[in-house]
Symmetry: C2
Subunit: 295 residues, 2 copies
DNA sequence: ATGATTAATACAATAAAAGTATTATTGATA
DNA sequence: TATCAATAATACTTTTATTGTATTAATCAT
């Protein structure tokens, strides 16, 4: 059975006249007769009563017509859906991200993307920073938000955000009145610090301190910035955190102080499998790029 | 776009291998490549990534595949629905009938038909006996239940039921103790009678009485048997009604007496437009015929 | 590097569809 | 009642589309 034949039948059922229907279909009348005959033969059912003088739908034809209209509509829809998917306008994309991305970057990107591509279903998965590249390689996620570097050659990354560290100090501590600090002022302070394993921040902060001429005294470690802030609030020590953490405010008890002088920036990047990027993925990357270019 | 191409794509999406898919489709590999290429060209979207080494669905292909599976299923369903409609197994049939058919004949026919053809939607319309043939001719109903004769040449009828008249007498009247009556015993009785217009029963009863040697004294007329029975109950007179009216019992107050001797039977027939009977109609007629043959 | 695998391409053969001309049937009209 | 006009079906030819066979080109594994 051929969609063309279904179209012929559909038009014929509207016109109930072979000549007129043929004209509408831009073919001559005999092929129409033959195609309908073939269709009926294939179905084993007469779809149209036809005398030489008038044509009308049989009950079977009426039933078939209802179905055929649905099918023809579906065919158009299927084609359109495929085209839209081809342009990345619909589909589903799984995004894996580490906790640090939730402070400022992710909300901006997601909001913009959902506004621009409402047909796309985004699936969000928070995970440890180190797991993001693995999840990408395994195909568990389609796009990752992480801190570089990434050691897989099949993964491409692009930095979206470059942010300085700030010092998080207790509200009533000795630094509370200062507007800004020099890094070496913190040399004698007890540090609460990201765990060395999952986050690159550990090594970035350590090397920054070395350059400032001291080796920080680490009194406690934590994996999540929220936990670090909690420790600072409780007076366990001071912490260096990425600037965007300020966004969350963390509910008071902690002050953030800008650090003067040379201090490495930390980066957040978007990452994806280099091979065969889908249009949707490309559209997401582009969106992320321009969302972050805004400031 | 061709259903054949959709089938090709669907199989190809399952196999993800042109050679294997072609084998399953009983064609060679090149036509498959070309058909897919054509389909993609038509859609303007790549449906499959294909290197020389591996084939996989693009996001657009995934979306299209979901749609195509639905379409292929619909096509099969449409074909089956048309075939079933062709055999009269599904569809809709409008039945017009006069009140007298509701006592015994219609319930039997309908019950049997609904059991046998559960896919058919029956639409029932009660109407005056005289309107049934008109409704048939106008196409308002597809099949009628009526009392012959019918004067339209385009209408065919077939008698389903032949039933005698019985006398309906008041419960406490002078005939209440009798088992049966002779028609001429009723010669002096007041009659309540069907109206001459809509029902053939009037003339049938009148001519029966003439043959029995009297002209009935009609004290009241009514169009519906229920009304006649009400009049009998109230003592207005006696009535002759079709035997099947007994089925309704009519809630007491009335006794039915068999009438001995020659008495015309009255008939109920099924009627339909002679031209182009649908399979459903034929199936309904056949059903009615055998439902009434049972007794 | 070499060979096996596999999708695409070239070209010929086959099949299907469409077009033109004609026929047969049926209402309408004179 | 005969004739005409309308119209779906059929016959036959031409055109178009599809398939098959043979071959090519690219890629992965050894």
């Amino acid at each position: 059975m051929d969609i063309k034949a279904l179209r012929y039948f559909s038009v014929l059922a509207e016109e109930l006249h072979f000549g007129h229907a043929a004209k509408r279909l831009h073919i001559s009348q005999p092929p129409l007769s033959r195609q309908l005959g073939k269709l009926e033969h294939e179905l084993g059912v007469k779809l149209l009563f036809r005398t030489k003088r008038q044509v009308s739908l049989t009950p079977a034809g009426q039933v078939f017509l209802d179905e055929v209209r649905g099918i023809l509509a579906s065919v158009n829809e299927a084609a359109n859906a495929a085209r839209r998917a081809g342009r990345g306008e619909i589909g589903r994309l799984t995004v894996g991200f580490f906790i640090g991305a939730t402070y400022s970057l992710l909300p901006k990107i997601l909001h913009r993307f959902q506004t621009q591509s409402p047909g796309v279903r985004l699936i969000l998965q928070e995970m440890e920073l180190t797991q993001v590249p693995q999840a990408l390689v395994s195909g568990e996620i389609d796009v990752g938000i992480l801190r570089p570097p990434v050691s897989y050659s099949t993964i491409e990354t692009e930095v979206l955000l470059r942010e300085p560290f700030v010092a998080a100090v207790p509200e009533n501590g000795k630094f509370s009145s200062k507007k800004q600090l020099q890094l070496k002022e913190l040399a004698e302070e007890p540090f609460v610090m990201f765990s060395p394993g999952p986050s690159v921040l550990y090594s970035q902060i350590m090397s920054a301190c070395y350059k400032a001429g001291f080796r920080p005294r680490i009194v406690q470690e934590a994996r999540h910035p929220e936990t670090l802030l909690g420790l600072v609030r409780s007076g366990a020590g001071i912490a260096l955190v990425a600037s965007s953490v300020q966004m969350r405010g963390s509910g008071g008890g902690v002050l953030f102080k800008k650090i003067t002088g040379p201090l490495p920036m930390t980066e957040i990047a978007i990452a994806w499998r280099h091979k065969n990027p889908s249009p949707l993925l490309l559209s997401f990357i582009k969106n992320a790029r321009s969302a972050m270019k805004l400031r």
